[in-house]
């Protein structure tokens, strides 16, 4: 079985490689594939180098990373919650990020960086609130996490509603809506230097916990007999998942539907669920997001928000 899955991992990795090369060579600014060596060697025109290094490359990188991270986290959460509908929204992270972004836009009237930071803080606060509420429940079961997630979501929606109400409809309201639709159109290299390391480190940590997460798919008591203390490991996994989602969502806006569809496609193809399948799920997520990013920035003259493609978040 593992060999079978490894084949898929290689297949999708190759597909992702091809898609990234295509992605690097399409866009409204003319950079063809054969220009890339010249750009890397520094012999191409300075504007071409500029566009490639500051716009095209960071964008492709963040899209690949986002697709992978969100799908991988989606798989982990679906396993932990033993529920095929689980997604980052379920623990309130996405709506927390939205509150943070809306707060930065309306109250701080901040630019990109402030909005990004505020969205990240909002997401992490939402997670802690959700864990706190769950810890107050008597039975510490999975259901109490879902329930506290619903409470946090409701609180977040109410806050967003309030912020929208006091927002200036001409500028701020539109900014909030566009932030929520998600997109990578103003990504530059300087904007991802913070996000990429945070995401990669949390993702690697999450991968190191893959055995424990697999065991968490069993009943709580069974997991305990296998030496995994759910009460300790569950908050750690949630925290890592949330940091990944929060850092991605803080630069891209709400694109988390990919975290629901990636895992399902991988299971549909492999009819199996294990930590290797999560890798396939991550790669599928990257490919899908990269494809939709290419469509979004080349189909028309203006950029199309991602939710137009992933509109069932």
């Amino acid at each position: 079985m593992n060999k079978h899955i490894n084949k898929f991992i290689i297949c999708f990795a190759v597909l992702l490689g091809i898609l990234s090369i295509v992605s690097l060579s399409i866009g409204r600014y003319q950079i063809k594939f054969e220009d890339i060596p010249g750009i890397l060697a520094g012999t191409a025109s300075s504007m071409k180098i500029n566009v490639f290094i500051n716009l095209r490359l960071p964008r492709t990188m963040i899209v690949i990373l986002s697709g992978f991270a969100l799908s991988y986290v989606g798989s982990v959460l679906q396993t932990v919650f033993k529920n095929p509908l689980a997604a980052p929204e379920i623990i309130g992270v996405s709506s927390g990020a939205s509150v943070g972004a809306a707060f930065a836009i309306v109250i701080l009237s901040g630019g990109f960086y402030i909005t990004m930071l505020s969205a990240f803080i909002g997401a992490v606060l939402a997670l802690f609130l959700s864990l706190f509420i769950a810890s107050k429940s008597n039975q510490k079961s999975l259901a109490s996490f879902v329930l506290s997630g619903i409470v946090v979501n409701a609180l977040a929606q109410a806050t967003i509603m309030f912020l929208k109400m006091i927002a200036d409809p001409e500028r701020q309201l539109a900014s909030i809506e566009f932030w929520m639709m998600g997109g990578f159109n103003t990504i530059t290299s300087s904007k991802i230097v913070l996000v990429v390391p945070i995401t990669v480190i949390s993702l690697v940590l999450l991968m190191l916990f893959r055995r424990q997460v697999e065991i968490m798919a069993l009943k709580d008591e069974e997991a305990k007999t296998l030496g995994v203390d759910i009460r300790v490991i569950r908050p750690i996994v949630f925290l890592l998942c949330s940091i990944v989602v929060a850092s991605i969502v803080s630069v891209s806006g709400l694109i988390s539907f990919i975290g629901l569809i990636g895992p399902h496609l991988s299971r549909l193809i492999l009819k199996h669920n294990s930590s290797r399948v999560w890798m396939v799920s991550g790669l599928i997520g990257s490919c899908l997001l990269l494809l939709s990013d290419m469509v979004a920035r080349s189909i028309g003259t203006s950029e199309i928000p991602y939710l137009c493609f992933f509109c069932y978040k």
Binding site: G27, R28, Y29, Q30, M47, N50, V51, N54, L55, R56, G111, F112, D168, P169, E170, R171, A174, F178, G183, N185, T186, T188, S190, R297, G300, T301, S302, E303, I304, P305
Partner: protein, 337 residues
């Protein structure tokens, strides 16, 4: 009597002397020197190295201004959906064929770079994209023509940046002349009350903070909704409209309803404007005069011709429109009402 004559003569000499000296001063300033540093409407300091020859405009207001400042040939890219703006097909049909750089909502940075512009004009709403372009070494002027004063600032700023100071001054003077004309013509009229119906429905209207309120005020109308302080279209009730009982109802140029809908609406029959059939739609066949475009002063003139035709007739208005568009847009324009 002789003394009085002398005094008048002296006065006129002094005045003409003044005006000569001031026009001389204007003359010396009509050429922009490069490189020049300007402060744009986001408060950024922008240095323009040489006279711009490749200009990109991401906002219909600046695009229209580029035509008025005789910069058609220097324009290499404009905002999306140019077919929505009738003025382009009339005054600059080549604009319909120019590459698009996206809309105010979703701006395309790469498309802008591909045009290798030496000046990009963007609304301040696109601050994120302005920052990215600046990082990439592109000269960007942020503009914010959201009120009359700001529009005049925008015109002066763009004119200075593009070495079109004289044309910019002419445009500003024309706007000023029209506004002063309205003031003198309408100084002794009985002020009429006006209700402006919004684009989406009759019961949405423009309060004191919207540009439409300025246009109505300049035309010496009394906007019945001027107590509303909403920065966007505000919703009101039928009862409120009946209580205001306006003399005239104006309908925004892109409205989805018409004069007939209002005349047939049984709820409105007691309103003065409906009884007298004093209802009209702001003409939109040239430009959206109810937004701060360079020609928006014509919006005020149109409202004046609608409110006080005995002081400012439709014929005179038509003449002023032709005059404005033939001077600044080199076209024969007429208003469809």
């Amino acid at each position: 009597m002789k003394k009085l004559l002398l005094l008048v003569l002296l006065c006129s000499l002094v005045i003409s002397g003044c005006s000569v000296s001031s026009s001389k001063e204007m003359k010396t300033n009509t050429k922009s020197s490069y490189p020049q540093t300007l402060v744009d409407q986001l408060g950024r300091e922008v240095t323009i190295e040489k006279e711009p020859k490749r200009i990109v405009s991401g906002y219909y207001i600046s695009t229209s201004l580029l035509i008025a400042l005789d910069l058609k040939d220097e324009t290499v890219g404009i905002e999306s959906k140019p077919e929505k703006r009738p003025i382009y097909s009339m005054a600059a049909p080549e604009f319909l064929e120019l590459p698009n750089v996206g809309t105010m909502k979703e701006f395309n940075i790469e498309a802008t770079l591909a045009l290798e512009p030496d000046l990009v004009l963007l609304p301040i709403k696109l601050k994120d994209s302005i920052d990215v372009l600046e990082e990439l070494g592109i000269t960007v002027l942020a503009i914010n023509p959201e009120s009359d004063e700001l529009l005049h600032e925008t015109i002066a700023l763009v004119a200075k940046a593009t070495n079109r100071i004289e044309l910019g001054d002419n445009l500003l003077n024309k706007i000023k002349t029209f506004n002063e004309k309205l003031k003198t013509l309408l100084s002794d009229v009985d002020q009429k009350s006006v209700y402006l119906g919004g684009n989406s429905e009759l019961l949405s209207t423009a309060g004191s903070k919207m540009y439409q309120n300025t246009l109505i005020t300049l035309a010496n109308g009394k906007n019945v909704a001027s107590d509303l302080s909403d920065a966007y279209w505000a919703n009101i009730s039928y009862e409120q409209l009946l209580a205001w009982n306006p003399d005239v109802i104006l309908i925004a140029s892109d409205a989805v309803y018409s004069k007939e809908d209002l005349l047939n609406d049984t709820n409105l029959q007691d309103i003065k404007a409906v009884k007298n059939k004093a209802i009209a739609s702001i003409p939109g066949n040239l430009e959206a005069w109810d937004s701060p475009v360079p020609s928006s002063v014509l919006g005020s003139l149109w409202i004046a011709s609608e409110l006080y035709p005995e002081k400012y007739s439709k014929e005179e208005f038509g003449q002023d429109v032709r005059d404005f568009y033939s001077t600044f847009y080199q076209i024969e324009a007429s208003v469809n009402e």
